[in-house]
Symmetry: C2
Subunit: 155 residues, 2 copies
Amino acid sequence: MNETTITAKPDTPFIEVVREFDAPRERVFSAWTDPQLLPQWLGPREVTMKLLTYDARTGGSYRYIHADERGEYGFRGVFHNVVPHELIIQTFEYDGAPDQVSLDITSFEDLGGGRTRMHGRTVFSTVENRDAMLAGGMEHGLRDSMARLDEVLAR
Amino acid sequence: MNETTITAKPDTPFIEVVREFDAPRERVFSAWTDPQLLPQWLGPREVTMKLLTYDARTGGSYRYIHADERGEYGFRGVFHNVVPHELIIQTFEYDGAPDQVSLDITSFEDLGGGRTRMHGRTVFSTVENRDAMLAGGMEHGLRDSMARLDEVLAR
């Protein structure tokens, strides 16, 4: 199984994620941007995802709800930049932490041989917001998401 | 004259700006979001500003060009959140540094007596990008902008 590497250096507002996939870059990018595919993998396994808006183009917006037995969790943002197969730069905000916006920079590297390396960088507006997101179970959601994405790509 | 306080702590990707204005919050917010007013103050005095797109609403986009005798400098971004009179959260990218996107959080505080305090926080995707922006004359542009904005508000 491919490993998910998560780096969050102390006293910085950054989280870096590196993950390889056994699929060509076009298919990985598609899973990230196609509103039919995204709800099949984004988030921890115990939640159901309802995608309300997902216009993954430069200048587009998105909004989705994660639901579990305890309640609903809304998320929204805008796409600053979407370069097909290569790069996605978007904002991110959780309804439960209003105005604590972060920036997600996701790039896709073609490793050849039908393999792809994803590099993600999240920049929070303060170190405290980054630490709160880590404490809130971000890592669990992220590792689940990456494993679920493997399953989507294997279909 | 009102002072512009710029704080950029070493080894962080943040720049903080605090500035007071002798004008009510509604007028300061207007100067920030009205496409007729923005080109009258944003940028150093030696440049001319051409506003190509400016849709200062949640989910909107913007693009403008600063021109001086040496050439043209393009900037663009999207608005993550615009709360009238209170808050603007937007992305920012300079054409000359592609994909080095930053996040600008600008809030307006009503001080009473027709005065307003603006608090700006810019979050860069790396410490290096922040340092490059400071080295590139950001402070000069910012101080000029704030003085020009005083003049717009005094009209």
